[in-house]
């Protein structure tokens, strides 16, 4: 059972993700470089970590979404394999079309690095370790986390309970106060079995004892337990 953490040139949270999986969730993690064409056979889950893959050239996530390994990740998703994309990983999943929408520059043009309160609002096997509508706190660190999708897509996400996380602080229109994200969307559920989550906040940065809190741990634990469950079914 192996959680694959994909490293792109410019990824900078890959090691944090591996540490969180290994030391926090007591799982096995393996770093795989984006130039590979296949995932290792032992792969049971995939994390696309945060960072600035390919220097955010052209658009954040654009190059990474077209790298060698992505078709294999798409096949893994189609087969129901659990995938979590964190921050730049979320941007990559949107660019690859695995998740709907796009991440625009923050409305105020600033990079935000702080802790934010989130509401767990979606239905996914990767969210089962949270209470429904539970409020949690996770750190964010992004300049382009302003979630955008057309109105039909947003309505569909709401109807299908595929908004995984929402920022609690909202403006008068209900958009995320921190970055302008439509409907305060901080994370989205996708995949044929709701087996994919992309989110701007960093669960791996709030998952170990030394972090002082572990609000991110239930997501990583669910990633492991869902992997285990799939292996035995």
């Amino acid at each position: 059972m192996t959680v694959v953490v994909v490293t792109f040139p410019g990824s900078n949270c890959d090691r944090d993700c591996i540490t969180a999986v290994v030391e926090g969730a007591h799982g096995a993690a393996l770093r795989v470089f984006h130039k590979e064409h296949e995932l290792p056979e032992t792969t049971t889950a995939v994390i696309l970590p945060g960072g600035f893959s390919f220097g955010d050239y052209l658009r954040c996530g654009a190059m990474a979404a077209r790298s060698n390994l992505m078709p294999a990740i798409q096949r893994f998703v189609d087969a129901g394999g659990p995938v979590v994309g964190i921050c730049n990983g979320f941007q990559i999943l949107c660019e690859a079309g695995v998740l709907p929408g796009a991440l625009l520059r923050n409305r105020d043009g600033r990079f935000h690095c702080e802790e934010v309160e989130l509401e767990v609002s979606g239905d996914s096997p990767l969210l089962v370790a949270y209470q429904r509508n539970e409020n949690i706190v996770l750190p964010i660190a992004h300049g382009e986390g302003n979630y955008f999708a057309d109105d039909d897509t947003i309505a569909l996400l709401e109807r299908e309970r595929r908004i995984a996380f929402r920022y609690v602080a909202r403006d008068e229109q209900g958009h995320g106060a921190i970055n302008g994200a439509k409907k305060a969307i901080a994370g989205v559920v996708g995949g044929p079995q709701r087996n994919v989550i992309g989110l701007m906040p960093h669960p791996e940065r709030r998952s170990l004892d030394l972090h002082g809190a572990d609000d991110g741990m239930p997501l990583l634990e669910a990633l492991l337990s869902y992997s285990e469950h799939r292996r035995h079914s």
Binding site: A102, L104, R107, G109, N146, D150, G180
Partner: protein, 80 residues
């Protein structure tokens, strides 16, 4: 052949970069400037038989990489 691609945010998609540029222009006294949108211009050489083939090829490149159809439109021009 040389081609030029202009990638622009679709109408209605927020452009914080454009808004920041507009603010700065106002600060400089250009108070008449409004609706500033920052666009991307990409130029490239393309191996193609004629202008039509070149345009088709570049449009394909645009759809696969140069633009994100969720948020961006593009225009393609063959220069020579």
């Amino acid at each position: 052949m040389r081609a030029r691609v202009i990638v622009r945010l679709k109408p209605g998609v927020l452009d914080p970069q454009g808004a920041a540029v507009e603010d700065a222009l106002h600060t400089l006294g250009f108070t008449g400037a409004s609706n500033v949108r920052v666009q991307k211009l990409i130029e490239l050489d393309v191996d193609a038989a004629d202008a039509d083939a070149c345009k088709l090829l570049v449009l394909e490149m645009a759809d696969q990489l140069l633009r994100n159809p969720v948020i961006e439109d593009c225009g393609v021009e063959v220069l020579q």
